[in-house]
């Protein structure tokens, strides 16, 4: 375990630790472009050069290993001047597209220049011209002039996805990043190359020209696309709605979490934010015959409660379909209300989406974030039980159904669900997005999406993770927790919960599996990551 000094601070590290890693343990970031903790060392940007006593040349801190007695200085005049010059070299052929470049505001050339550059440009020669604005696949746009040839994208596609799309052609200052002619960047993790590109060479087509990054508010959350539970930041624009084209969520970025997704997220998760702003149910509604008519929450709650009261002696004729999309807190309260207080025992778990494909990296077949949470609370999805239930619906033996977002018409296409559902006496839909089934329900209660509330999900490994509220609920929707509380109060139950926090503290005491919430990762993994606001 070598002990060394970096900028006059002592530190002891594991053998094999590089100086750049040791500096991070001490809390400071040595500037870099090509170094990424999740990829192999390239050592080509030369930005992380530092002074090491007894070594005549500056050393790249991403490669040099800590040795006992080593003395490193990262802020000497020589190092600072070298950084200035490295930046100057990187800008020699850089097109300075800032006014039209999406990376502006989160560009490492800009950021390091402000920190380390700050001098008059003396470059006055023609620049090397390369390809610009080339879509290299459905998700990523390439601008080779902006590229600083750090090779992060090449290494990512070689080492992480192992799909080898990128290459660097030619040599010298005509070196150019690109794909094999005719090939596309189309693997399931393609969007990650945009994250790791320090400049605007690789940009997201989905995000192109949407919103300047300094208008984005960033909130810690957890992806709800599958049971992996990749950590994300929801990046929303509420300041300049005129730029949003009706959308509040501008993009999703992965957040470093060593225990689950490291630095990465799959494309489905990354681009899966559209349902937060599209196709939402905005108001509570009632449908008797004809199209649904908008009603107040007061009325909606009252009528839902009367519906339950009608079944008080006929509990076998009503069923509740919980969803593995619901948070631990929502499920906990749902169990309290439906099982404990109302005494119903026909409570099922039904996923609103079909199982998808799985891979040996992040993507899980189960496209729900909280199946494990539901199972811990005693709810599991059994094919046979669900079929039995649907038989009861079809046969008319079941008269009431309370759904949590499931589109039964689309899920059970082999059955004539529309007809069967129409025959029900009491059909309630509590969910975020409208679908074929929601339009048919007697009562529609709009719930807030995961982005508009807070709570916890339990991933398939049993890891509990907190997601935070990024937006106010759209329209007049309300959090599931809130809706359940309102129902409980209207039913006159003894109900001491008012918000998610109340639920969470009791839940953690009563359910040991929900006690350990996985900590968010340390302050930074990449330079310039803003500390997110909760």
């Amino acid at each position: 375990m070598p002990t060394l000094k970096i900028d006059n601070q002592d530190i002891t590290v594991e053998k094999g630790t590089t100086v750049i890693q040791a500096a991070e343990k001490l809390g400071f970031v040595i500037p870099r472009y090509c170094y990424h903790p999740g990829l192999s060392i390239a050592g080509n940007c030369r930005m992380c050069l530092v002074e090491v006593e007894k070594m005549p040349k500056l050393q790249i801190s991403c490669h040099i290993q800590c040795a006992d007695g080593m003395v490193v200085n990262t802020e000497t005049e020589r190092v600072k001047k070298t950084r200035q010059h490295v930046l100057e070299f990187l800008l020699v052929n850089h097109p300075l597209d800032c006014p039209v470049c999406d990376q502006s505001g989160e560009c490492w050339l800009q950021d390091y220049y402000m920190e380390h550059g700050l001098y008059e440009s003396r470059l006055d020669e023609p620049k090397v011209k390369k390809q610009k604005a080339v879509p290299i696949g459905p998700t990523v746009m390439l601008d080779s002039e902006r590229c600083i040839l750090c090779s992060r994208c090449v290494r990512f596609c070689d080492e992480i996805t192992k799909t080898n799309e990128f290459g660097i052609f030619n040599r010298g200052d005509h070196s150019e990043i690109g794909l094999y002619p005719g090939k596309e960047l189309n693997n399931k993790y393609s969007g990650n190359v945009v994250d790791i590109c320090p400049v605007g060479a690789l940009t997201d087509i989905d995000f192109r020209f949407k919103c300047r990054v300094w208008y984005l508010r960033k909130v810690d959350s957890v992806c709800n696309g599958c049971s992996r539970g990749c950590n994300i930041t929801l990046e929303v624009n509420t300041e300049r709605p005129q730029h949003g084209h009706g959308e509040r969520v501008m993009r999703i970025k992965p957040r470093y979490q060593p225990e689950i997704n490291q630095w990465w997220i799959c494309d489905e998760g990354r681009y899966g934010y559209k349902p937060i702003d599209h196709g939402r149910i905005l108001e509570p509604a009632r449908r008797s015959s004809g199209p649904p008519e908008i009603i107040s929450w007061e009325d909606a709650i009252t009528e839902t409660v009367s519906g339950f009261q009608r079944f008080s002696k006929r509990s076998k004729e009503i069923a509740i379909l919980l969803s593995p999309q619901l948070s631990n807190e929502s499920l906990y309260l749902a169990k309290k209300l439906f099982s404990e207080k109302l005494g119903l025992d026909q409570i099922y778990l039904l996923s609103p989406s079909l199982e998808g494909s799985q891979d040996d990296f992040l993507i899980q077949a189960d496209k729900n974030p909280n199946r494990k949470g539901a199972e811990i609370l005693g709810f599991s999805e059994k094919e046979s039980r669900i079929q039995e239930l649907m038989d009861l619906v079809s046969s008319g033996k079941l008269k009431g159904l309370y759904l949590f977002g499931q589109d039964l018409v689309s899920i059970f296409t082999h059955r004539n669900m529309s007809e069967a559902l129409r025959k029900l006496e009491f059909l309630v839909f509590q969910g975020t997005n409208s679908n074929l089934t929601s339009k048919m329900c007697h009562l529609i209660l709009p719930s807030a999406s995961y982005a508009e509330t807070e709570g916890t999900f339990t991933n398939f490994e049993g890891k509990v993770q907190k997601f935070s509220q990024a937006l106010l609920p759209i329209g007049d929707s309300r959090a599931d927790v809130e809706i359940i509380c309102q129902l409980a109060r209207k039913l006159d139950f003894d109900w001491p919960y008012f918000n998610t926090e109340d639920v969470a503290s009791e839940m953690q005491k009563k359910v040991p599996a929900f006690q350990n919430i996985l900590a968010s990762a340390p302050a930074f993994q990449e330079p310039f990551e803003e500390k997110v606001s909760k």
């Binding site: 080898n164 799309e165 990128f166 290459g167 660097i168 052609f169 030619n170 040599r171 794909l179 094999y180 002619p181 090939k183």
Partner: protein, 158 residues
Amino acid sequence: MPNEILAPELKAKADKIVANYEERRAALLPVLHLIQDSYGFISEKAELEVAEYIGIPPVDIKEVITFYTLYHSKPCAKYEFNVCRTLSCSLAGQEKIIEFLENKLGIRVGEKSADGKFGLNEVECLGACEMAPMMQFEKEYVGNLTERKIDEILSKAA
């Protein structure tokens, strides 16, 4: 995919080359030389076949071909004049040689004549500074170039 470029006879030669190296990929440069010597250039079809033969992604082949100056993706001229332009040859007047050839051949450096017969290139030091100014022509080094020498070569080039 049936091999058009790496036809059986050529493939047998390639297999012999591969046997010289502990790792298959190390045979790449010699195999590319083999293809270029046989076909005059390395076509896209050749790139794909070699990629499969060696067992590496095609993008790696493209990287190698664009990195090294001796591999050509397009057919060369029948007669290529590769004139050295580095220091000793520059001191010996290589620019005048270039001027002379450009006028004689009717093309500029980097171009090929319309009939595909002649090509003119400037290259870096060929390791023959004692005979500056010099060029490489059909594998041979031709040095102490004069206008007369070049005329002689041109007259022999059919």
